[in-house]
């Protein structure tokens, strides 16, 4: 089995992506608060749901990225 090297650049990119997913989930929560007129304290009390949602978004983004990578690999092989 080969050693896998994760570069600093990759780490930074993944952390930025995770942060972006969390921000998106946080904004969804803010939207829901406004949409349903619920208390603003839910920005903090519902943080558990926000974290779960951000993990889901991150996973969905990863699925999309895998699809793009697969397509790119096929194109490269075609050349």
């Amino acid at each position: 089995m080969k050693d896998t090297v994760i570069t600093a650049k990759v780490k930074r990119r993944e952390i930025s992506l995770a942060a972006g997913c969390f921000l998106a989930a946080f904004l969804v929560n803010v939207y829901a608060i406004i949409r349903f007129g619920t208390p603003w304290t839910e920005m903090f009390t519902q943080i558990g749901y926000v974290i779960v949602l951000s993990v889901i978004i991150y996973a969905v983004v990863w699925v999309i990225r895998l699809c793009i990578m697969a397509v790119m690999a096929l194109i490269r092989r075609g050349r």
Partner: protein, 403 residues
Amino acid sequence: MGAAGLLASSVPWLKGCTPAGQEEISGEKVRIGIIGPGSRGRFHIDNLLKIPQAEIVALCDNYKANLDKASAKVPSARRYDDYRKLLEDKEVDAVVIATPLNLHYRMTVDAFSAGKNVFCEKAMAYTMEECLDMYRKGRASGKIFFVGQQRLFDPKYIMIMDSVRKGEFGPVVNVRNYWFRNNDWRRSVPSPDLERHINWRLYREYSRGLMTELACHQLQNGTWALGMLPQQVMGTGSIIYWKDGREVFDSVSTIYTFPNGVNMTFESVISNKHFGMGEQILCKDATIDLASGRLYAENPKPRSGIRQLVGEIEQGIFSSSAFAGTSWNAESASADSGISIMPEAVEGDGSLEMMQAFCHSVLTGEQPPHVLEEAYYGSVLCLLGDEALLQKKILEFPEEFRL
């Protein structure tokens, strides 16, 4: 017991089953005779054996098998096969009567004549006239008289009824009681000549069937919650499935109407058990399920915004779209899971507390207020309901049976 202690101040009849009430009588003992130690009688024996102030000194049954089973639980107790002999026993202070319904009246009245305190199983008696006479004779004797309406001692019921009576959930608009089973209600009989003796609940000579055996407990909910008596009752009863020679109905539906127009229903079917047993008080702002001790608000606190949003998305994805929409929307039952009303887990159904209170009353000589009156009306209402079923008429509550 803890919850009962908390409630004792507002419910005086609970005093006897609180730690303070038990302390008041520590060291003393009530000598008890059990008349009719069948299944219910032995259930009471089990509870009495847990109470330090109770001593079972005598047992009586004319069915030897039951007497033997009870003797196995209390080997030291004297055995009788005639209740009159037990009543002559000078070392018996109080009797627990758990015999077929038609015997309650004679045995209770004889017990008062013999100077005994009485705990009689519900329903109080076979007729309303007997109930009234028992009530009067009991009060006139100066002896303690309890009837087995254990819900009066169940902390869940007491707490909920207190809140209902204070109007915390808005006015009461309906009371629903039902008891569904799916069995023939028979006990196995060792020989055919014992059929009526053992399966007495199925025969009119001994019992009024579902009304006296089941409704009796539940009808109390309405009078307790509303603080008044129904003014009329109507209903219908039939033998729809268990056509096995029984004489009492296996399916009944009754409606009791209170002076303010509120209806209380009692339904029972013993050929379908899907809904089980339920006792619900419907108020303008909430529904209270007495059996489970849960409260369902009419307008429950909404879920958080994000949960509502997720729910909306889920519904959009998974709910099936109608091909041709209905012209009206059915009012589906609320999916609200409700909240528990009791602050702590409460075990039991009040039967142990009821026996503790009975022993306390016998030892102190104080008949607790309301207990007998509540039981009396519970019995009269179930008997009146059975009359309405038999006569197929709307019956008014007879004034002469008001206390």
